[in-house]
């Protein structure tokens, strides 16, 4: 995985190939029924979509940076985050190691 722009993973062919199963599972979360099925039995749901060990561990940890490392694309990961009522500011805070309040304050400061 190349990160020649610091803190940024290009979602390229390598990442897309690596993350196909993970992103397909997250794509399924467009449906409320599928979101409920995941919540009911997370392990079985991951198995059904053929996630590898790295991906299953990242899902279990709810860790966005690990999910990206495992090939996840952020638009699909946002659907996963949606299951827990988390938005892109919550996941931004998690990835940058900031509190949500500090993350929001940083965005406001960018406008000054």
């Amino acid at each position: 995985m190349t990160q020649d722009i610091a803190g940024t993973t290009m979602f390229d062919g390598d990442q897309a190939q690596k993350g196909l199963a993970l992103n397909r599972m997250c794509f399924s979360f467009n449906s409320a029924e599928n979101r409920a099925a995941f919540v009911k039995d997370e392990e079985a749901y991951c198995q059904k979509y053929g996630l590898d060990e790295e991906q299953r561990a990242a899902i279990k940890a709810r860790n966005v940076l690990q999910l990206i490392e495992a090939g996840g694309n952020v638009y699909y990961l946002a659907k996963f985050a949606g299951i827990f009522g988390l938005n892109v500011q919550d996941i931004g805070a998690q990835q940058t190691g900031m509190s949500v309040e500090d993350f929001k304050a940083k965005l406001v400061a960018a406008g000054r």
Binding site: F11, N23, R24, V64, A78, G85, V88, Q89, L107, A110
Partner: protein, 285 residues
Amino acid sequence: MARIIGGVATTHVPSIGKAIADKKHNDPYWKPFFSGFDYVHQWLAREKPDVAVFFYNDHGLNFFLDKLPTFAVGAAKEYRNEDEGWGIPVARPALGDQAFSWHLINALVADEFDVTMCQEMLIDHAVTIPLELMWPGNWPAKIVPISINTVQHPLPSMARCLKLGRAVGRAIESYPQDLRVMVVGTGGLSHQLDGTRAGFINKEFDQLCLDKIVSEPDTLTRYSIHDVVALAGAQGVEFLNWMAMRGALTGQVSQAHRNYHIPISNTAAATIVLANEAQAARKAA
């Protein structure tokens, strides 16, 4: 003949959909963004477009990564929105203009843009939010959605998207029916959702893009996709939709309105209206 009356470009952040549903227009956080639409509403009421051609990117509602077209054109009677998984309300359907869509598809392929043709196509928030911002509560114009891949690299270049827009502009103007057509570009401006660089915003680069897109869009083609990711953030590449919108304006272009505000969610929000004085109208004058 069909006439291109102008273009609108706007941010399409999903949380805007929630804010509309919760009627937060006058909330201090939202007001600087929503008030940027007062002029857009006046302009649309005056210009009354029959059709809006949308350049946008799908975020995993209609397309998945298994089969992902670089450019796809809708040719449906109706375009539905569905649950996108992140808790924003499902929008009403938008009406299509199938004859006009097929005219555009035929003209684009003849012009060497080999687009994917979609007789069925779901539209996501990148189309429905701009529609609701432009025409709150009622969408009088029919639409033609043109999706550009901004998700999975390699992405089409800034130059390619400008050329696509120009081909769409020529295609619109060769339509024999008297239609008033507007073009819309959605997404951006600078933002990044993923990685330890999440929350990246670049006001200076955004301002440059807003300045140059009006009358010198070609100067922006010097930026590679890699440059745009570096300067505008990983999702700032949605500016490709703006480049295509601008390309479709074939006449004398002037900025009628601009609004820029940081932040809406993780994004530098912008809205512009570009007027297009068509070649034919200039000759007549």
